[in-house]
Every structure is written in C-alpha cells, then in structure tokens.
C-alpha cells in the first residue's frame, strides 16, 4: 500500500518491543473481556499490582516465561509463530490477533491433519459444502431470470478457508428450480486486509426473506 518502512524494521529492539506490545495487547483485551482487573491478575500471578502494571504499561523485552505465566493466568495458551518473511514486509510483522482469527475461523485445528481437512472441504461437492455454510438473503432481483443479486450476512460454521466470516457478503445466487436451494458464488465485501483476494466460496442461502428488487 505504501513505500514506507514499518517502525519495527528500524532495529531488533523495535521489533522485539512490537512483539511484546502485541502480546500485552492480547492480554489486556482478554482482561477487559472478562472483567479481570490488574489487581486480580497480580493476585493470580502472585506478583504485586505495580509489577503487573509495569509490564502492561511498558512491555519492553518480555521473557517467554513471563508470557506463558500471564497467558496461563487468563486461561490462554501461547505459541511463538515464525512464518514466511517474503510476504509484504512494509507492514511489519502480522499481528497475533490475525493468526488467532484465522485459527478460530479454521475451527481451531489441533494439528496439521485437521487444518488440512478444513482446506479440503472447499473441494467437496456443493451439497456438502452447503451444510457447512448458510447465508441470509435479504435482497434479490431479476425475478423470472436466472441470476439473483444477493446481499446478506454469511455465517459459515466450519472452516472453508474464508476470512471475515461475519461480515457482509455480495454475490450472485441461482435458485435451483427443483430443490428450491439458492446457491452461488459469494464474495466478501469489504475485503479484509491482505486477504482481499481470497473471498470466494460456495454457500447455501436460507429461504428468501427480503424485498425483491424489480420483481415481475
């Protein structure tokens, strides 16, 4: 998107600080979501509130031991992830919550076999895929024709290699005259971050329930 150099690229210290601060951002988000105060976290860690605040206010160079302690105290796990560095580097390292979101969207695979199974489901016949995904159809047009324009919310419930699963979707849907099932290609909109070219999958739409545009 730009020719700038990301701030973490200036020195190893900057890079390390970025990783540490990305981790504590996850910790603080979890604390906020679960209503855990710094005092409560300190109690769980058997440390002083001041020490916990010091770490969260200025993460600096966190040790792996400390990251595990903080994560475990909040019921979380930790992985250190290294990945292909040939991806666009101007944007700095991919933030940890992006990896978490991808993992959650892939139905939290516990190993590479499960991760691969999620990927393979894309190649299954439509009927099988349809059982994994639904899309609420809220608008359609060209009644009497073949193609219907659809704008709705796609809510897949199992990995199909897609991002932004709860975002709005745009696509063409085609009703099957025998089964009444609406099917078609749906493209995520707006595209999300660097995933913008991966937005197509097949889904079954729930029965039409919206206003028809240009109905005959």
């Amino acid at each position: 998107m730009s020719t700038m150099t990301h701030w973490t690229a200036h020195s190893v210290d900057d890079y390390v600080y970025g990783i540490s601060a990305g981790f504590t951002a996850q910790i603080e988000a979890k604390m906020e979501a679960e209503g855990v105060s710094r005092t409560e976290l300190a109690k769980r860690l058997n440390k002083s509130t001041g020490r916990v605040s010091q770490v969260l206010n200025d993460p600096g160079n966190l040790s792996l031991k400390l990251t595990v302690e903080y994560a475990k105290a909040l019921g979380m796990e930790v992985s250190v992830v290294a990945y292909d560095g040939t991806a666009p580097s101007n944007n700095g390292p991919v933030r940890p919550d992006v990896f978490v979101k991808c993992w959650e969207n892939a139905n939290r695979p516990a190993d590479l076999f499960e991760a691969e199974a999620g990927k393979l489901s894309l190649d299954k016949p439509f009927e099988q895929i349809a059982s994994y995904a639904t899309a609420t159809c809220v608008d359609a047009g060209k009644v009497g024709g073949i193609n219907y324009y659809m704008h709705g919310t796609a809510v897949p419930t199992t990995p199909i290699g897609i991002i932004g699963l709860n975002d709005s979707a745009l696509g063409l849907v085609v009703p099957d005259p025998y089964s009444g099932i609406w099917s078609g290609e749906i493209k995520m909109s707006p595209p999300i971050g660097s995933f913008e070219n991966q937005g197509k999958w097949k889904a079954q739409a729930l029965p039409f329930s919206g206003k028809r545009r240009g109905a005959a």
Partner: protein, 158 residues
C-alpha cells in the same frame, strides 16, 4: 495562491491498510500531537506506535490503550491513544472520519492534540476541541491531500 495552512501527515512507520490509515493534523499552534509525540520517551513512543498498528489492523478497542466514544451523542467521532509514564498518562486525541466517499468503510484516524493526564477520565473540552476540527473543511482538504502525498510517503522510508 498561498500554501495550505493545515497539513495532514500519515504517522511515520505505521502501516496504512485498505481499510484504515492514521496521521497527525498540524499547522495550528493548538494541534500539538505531532510535536509532543516526537518528545515521548522511546518506550512510550513504541507503545503508541504499536497501538496505532493495532487500530489499523482492525483490533477492537482496548480501553487501557486506545478507544473511541461510539455511544457519546456529541463526541462519537473522537478517538484516543494512551500510554502511561509513572503517574502521568499521555493521551493523544483525534477523530475518525472517511475523507474518501467512494471507499465505503475506509477510516482515517486524525490525531490532533496531546494531553498529560493524572485522572482517569478524559477532559470533555479536549474532545469538543477535537470535534471542532472534524467539522473543518480545511482539515478535510488536508487529510485528502495527505493521504495521497507520494513525496511524503517516500520520505518515510528513511
């Protein structure tokens, strides 16, 4: 024609994504965020940069680091980035806007002012001041120009 008084500069080193960008508004004595950001201790500067990264990444608000006031009838567009230094809290106040009507969903965070806080709550006057800039046509023109300033982007590689 006189050069524009108000300027918008993307924050050096923070990624701009297809959905979000963040920068400093300057050119008026009261718009002190950029100058004050440059004076921060390195660790606090890094923490704020990381928070800005998180925001452009799409990370939901974390009240201890960055957040808006989406439920405030008057100041719903205001936004703040925070870092603590001892008993003092650094606050960088700005507002969210979309200066590109053709890019639905695109958001720019326009950082305007800096404040040192010892109490938890934000100063209402600070938010209202920032809000006044969100309604400025001069600021909007500066933001649009700053987003596409190739020269500026290239200087950020140094």
């Amino acid at each position: 024609m006189s050069p524009e008084r108000i300027k918008f500069r993307l924050v050096k080193g923070v990624k701009r994504t297809a959905s979000r960008a963040i920068g400093f508004l300057g050119g008026d004595d009261r718009l002190d965020a950029s100058a004050e950001f440059g004076k921060l201790k390195e660790s606090r500067r890094r923490l704020i940069l990381d928070s800005m990264d998180a925001w452009t990444n799409g990370t939901p608000d974390i009240s201890t680091r960055f957040h808006g006031w989406p439920n405030d009838d008057e100041c719903w567009m205001c936004y703040v980035f925070k870092a603590r230094e001892g008993n003092v809290g650094h606050r960088f106040y700005g507002y969210l806007c979309n200066p590109l009507p053709d890019a639905r969903g695109f958001r720019v965070c326009v950082i305007c002012t800096h404040a040192r806080k010892t109490e938890r709550a934000s100063d209402r006057a600070e938010l209202l001041f920032v809000k006044s800039w969100s309604q400025s046509g001069e600021a909007l023109a500066a933001i649009r120009a700053g987003l596409f300033d190739k020269t500026e982007m290239e200087t950020q590689t140094s």
